[in-house]
């Protein structure tokens, strides 16, 4: 059978697929995407077209309530012993709707800053991207993590305001003003991880808000570039496995989940994607260089300072979207 996998870049490397296909006889078709597009696609297909999706854990409950695009997991088909228990429980908790569990964790990591330390050594927090010293040479995504990151760096607490729409709106307005003001500093808003890497590598961009992995990978090419956990705290995310409501190959999907959560396979994925997984013991096989980079970026206080995304309440996304549009339109 064929597994149609809707996932992020790097989460299904060719070698893992080859191994899976060789072992099970199934084939895997990968469609690379991001959170918004995953949800949009599944909403358009009413949960069809794919057999397994990998949205972040905070983006499951809301869309599920709204569109019903996932089906509940049959936990009996998942080998839970392969997961780091704390992460498994946290994810299950965040993705439970009407008593049913909709996701299990796969890859986790953070968003923070990737900086060319030689040219933009003064960039330590999100708001530093607006410094004159890096004018025209910074980049970030025009997506919700940027709003949240800037909010923290401006001394606000957006997650705390999740329950209070008015308060959240107030935070958004301040962030919006800041980002509009900052816009002239921006070279371009990046969209995909590889795009950002190209921008940094070519020197067109010297500092950016980005996923931790990007920084670590670039570090191989250019020792000046690395991931920096922002002073106001990195944003922690967990990407999950969820079954689209109308996937046709649930069995293969479960097989894939159980396959990639094996420590050796998880290590392969970590080295491809650059992020650690929720696989119990998966980090054992990860090469030391990556571990070293991780440790360099994340001293203990930085780890403690990670802001983990809580589940997004329905309705907030519309506010965020409008704010992002306005930033995009500003001159």
């Amino acid at each position: 059978d064929t597994l149609r996998l809707l996932t992020w870049g790097g989460y299904a490397p060719e070698d893992v697929i080859a191994k899976f296909e060789a072992e099970t006889g199934h084939t895997v078709e990968v469609t690379k995407s991001n959170n918004e597009e995953m949800i949009a696609k599944l909403r358009a297909t009413n949960g069809g077209g794919f057999d397994l999706a990998q949205p972040s854990q905070d983006r499951i409950a809301g869309p599920q309530a709204e569109f019903g695009i996932y089906k509940p997991l049959d936990m009996s088909k998942i080998d839970t012993s392969l997961f780091i228990p704390s992460m498994l429980e946290a994810t299950k908790g965040n993705t439970t709707v009407d008593g049913e569990v909709y996701a299990v964790p796969h890859v986790w990591g953070t968003s923070g800053l990737v900086v060319n330390t030689a040219q933009a050594g003064d960039v330590k927090d999100y708001t530093d991207l607006c410094n004159d010293s890096v004018a025209g040479k910074v980049s970030y995504r025009l997506k919700r993590p940027t709003l949240i990151g800037f909010a923290y760096s401006m001394g606000l607490d957006p997650f705390a305001a999740y329950g209070d729409e008015a308060a959240y709106k107030d935070i958004l307005d301040q962030v919006e003003a800041k980002l509009v003001e900052c816009k002239s500093n921006v070279k371009t808003y990046w969209d995909g991880g590889d795009e950002l890497k190209n921008l940094l590598r070519s020197g067109e961009v010297v500092a950016s808000m980005a996923w931790d992995t990007g920084g670590w990978q670039l570090n191989d090419d250019n020792a000046d570039i690395t991931f920096v956990a922002p002073e106001s705290g990195a944003l922690g995310w967990i990407d999950t496995f969820a079954l689209p409501a109308r996937g046709r190959s649930d069995d293969v999907a479960y097989a894939w989940i159980n396959f990639v959560m094996q420590p050796e396979v998880a290590a392969m994925i970590t080295s491809a994607a650059g992020n650690f997984t929720a696989s119990q013991g998966g980090d054992a096989n990860v090469d030391d260089a990556l571990k070293a980079k991780y440790q360099a970026s994340f001293p203990q206080e930085a780890i403690d300072n990670i802001k983990w995304y809580p589940s997004v309440p329905a309705g907030l996304e519309a506010l965020e979207g409008a704010a992002l549009d306005r930033i995009n339109a500003a001159n």
């Binding site: 358009a44 309530a65 997506k143 067109e204 329905a314 409008a322 339109a329």
Partner: protein, 286 residues
């Protein structure tokens, strides 16, 4: 026999009706209905014009709308201005083999997708790209020059990508202009400019209008070029529609935007046709 020809008629009519009904008319009716759906809560909807109200109450949206319209009009005029002399050259100043060759050369860029064409421009225009390096090499610039991510880049891409749709109808109409009309004009004492204004352009009007309509529609409905070449300034109405559907999952607002775009485009085309005294059927049959 008349029974048989009736049957033939209905058999020929059927595919047309099925096509238009199921793929053009009903979908637009459906989209209109969706655009009337107001979201009031999780899986709760009411009927009304709230989505349209959102558009009119948010300056961002109608600013983008206006910007898309005038940029598209500018791109159309620019394409016409650049393309007309070329079409005239091909239609009237070359003959036989070289005419065919030049005409085909106009088509070459369209052997690849808009994506590839735009990609080519990105390689040329970016800060580490070909032009920037060339300028530094010849000493016209002291450091890297960023030519991407601005309106000029969008314009370059739009004009480039539209050129064919302007040049082809122009060449066709200009080809059909009898040379002896131009000669008669000269013979009666007209200057080159007078001939252009009084004979060539009036004759080419259907081609100009049909070229302009298509180019305008293509620019207005473009998505790739503004996104890829415009970067942070890429704002384009189709982009807004796309993001309502794809990153906001807000089909209702997206549909309303879609309808507004359709209305705008129809309106501008209608005004264009009226101003030039052409009819859609005539110009499009070019």
């Amino acid at each position: 026999m008349s029974d048989r020809s009736k049957l033939t008629f209905w058999l020929l009519l059927a595919p047309l009706l099925i096509w238009l009904l199921t793929l053009i008319i009903l979908p637009h009716v459906g989209m209109f209905l969706v655009s009337l759906r107001e979201k009031v809560g999780v899986r709760e909807y009411e009927t009304g014009f709230a989505n349209y109200a959102v558009f009119f109450n948010e300056p961002l949206y109608w600013n983008t709308f206006a910007r898309t319209a005038y940029m598209s009009i500018a791109a159309t005029l620019l394409t016409l201005l650049i393309g007309f002399p070329i079409a005239y050259y091909i239609a009237k100043l070359t003959r036989g083999r070289s005419k065919t060759t030049l005409f085909l050369m106009c088509l070459i860029p369209f052997w690849v997708s808009e994506l590839v064409r735009t990609f080519g421009w990105m390689i040329l225009l970016r800060e580490t790209g070909v032009f920037s390096n060339l300028l530094q090499y010849v000493g016209l610039a002291s450091g890297p020059v960023e030519m991407l991510y601005n309106d000029a880049a969008i314009m370059t891409g739009l004009v480039y990508t539209s050129m064919l749709f302007m040049v082809v109808p122009l060449v066709t109409t200009l080809d059909s202009l009898d040379d002896s009309l131009i000669e008669a004009g000269y013979d009666l004492g007209a200057s080159g400019f007078a001939i252009l204004r009084e004979i060539v352009i009036p004759h080419a009007m259907p081609g100009i209008v049909s070229g302009c309509i298509v180019v305008f529609m293509l620019s207005l409905g473009n998505y790739l070029t503004p996104i890829l070449l415009g970067g942070k300034d890429s704002l384009w109405f189709t982009g807004l529609i796309y993001s309502q559907f794809i990153t906001r999952f807000n089909w209702e607002l997206g549909s309303a935007f879609g309808f507004l775009l359709l209305g705008l485009s129809s309106l501008i085309v209608f005004v264009g046709l009226k101003l030039s005294r052409q009819s859609l059927g005539k110009t499009m049959a070019q």
